[in-house]
Symmetry: C2
Subunit: 201 residues, 2 copies
């Protein structure tokens, strides 16, 4: 931590501005100048903290992934397994409806599977690899957590159930990343149908 407090605050402002812009728009259409203007800093200050737009996007994604982990930890505080499943369904549906830009960013990074198997050649590739591993661990973590939850609910094949449950959430995320802005009625039907499928034996 070599930054003084005002520098940290500028870095946070840049990250917050970038999050908002990447959430509203596609990655390629957001310029560094736009991020700087929204954060109220000079363009050079953006480059001082983040060497390029890719590294900034990865920082945004990282905040988002950390947020998901901490939101899930809160969700787990309820002791009723059925409520955790319903909570996760509502959380995911909210995410795909209101954070299209971020889910698009997520799929773009996940899609970069190559980066898992080759030596990173520069800082961006190194960060992508770290983030893909982090998302992969998150996915495996969710599968294990929900396997325990489905087991507690007395479902047969709880691991298969958990993989299918997490698979649906990812698959719907992908559908709405490709075709954003689903209508409210469809989202309600999806939520009701998923709750019926995954809380009743």
């Amino acid at each position: 931590m070599t930054d003084d407090s005002s520098e940290i605050s500028k870095k946070e402002k840049i990250l917050l501005a970038a999050s908002k812009l990447f959430l509203e728009k596609d990655f390629k259409t957001v310029s560094t100048q736009e991020i700087a203007s929204k954060a109220g800093v000079a363009k050079g200050t953006v480059f001082h903290h983040y060497e390029n737009k890719h590294l900034l996007a990865l920082a945004v994604l990282d905040v988002f992934v950390n947020q998901m982990v901490s939101d899930f930890d809160k969700m787990k505080e309820t002791t009723e397994p059925k409520e955790i499943i319903i909570g996760m369904i509502h959380y995911s549906m909210d995410l795909v409806t209101n954070s299209t830009g971020l889910t698009q960013l997520l799929f773009q990074v996940i899609g970069d599977i190559d980066h898992l198997t080759k030596e990173p050649e520069n800082e961006v590739e190194k960060q992508i690899q770290n983030e893909v591993r982090k998302v992969e661990n998150l996915l495996v973590g969710f599968i294990n957590e929900f396997a325990i939850i489905f087991k507690r609910m007395g479902f047969e094949n709880p691991i298969a159930y958990s993989r299918i449950f997490i698979g649906v959430l990812d698959g719907l995320g992908l559908q709405f990343a490709l075709n954003p802005k689903p209508d409210t009625k469809l989202m309600e039907e999806l939520t009701t149908t998923m709750i019926a499928l995954f809380t009743k034996r």
Copy 2:
């Protein structure tokens, strides 16, 4: 068609060799020389037909997407909706188990969502955009087809059911693209659980 028959045959040999290699290995680890050797042609011949490895990979993916469409058309020939659903589950499980390289390639291209919104700058970007649109249309097509099938089976909210069903198949594809080589017991449990979820009201 300016190619003579022996040129067409060489092009086909290259495509077949590339398909096998991309299926077995990660995209980045397959060299053009390796493709040429497997196809039994000179390296220059590969570049004559496909300007670079990316365009060849897209051609491989295109063959794969066309194959999926034609396989699904065959599946639909049976009149029993339940059998079509079971057929699709088996088909997808077989795909994620035995064609990891291709599903990885698919997610890499889908992940490139940027390419839908910006003007392509070169031939590779143009081909990626075409392929993402084709995959997106395939996804929408499947959702519509299975909505009709779930409706015929008397399910409530057939569109939601169809989106969830296609979502599971994509989501599981993503899980096994990130972590290939699932064991046989898990695949059997997934198949059984999915059949129970999507064929019983």
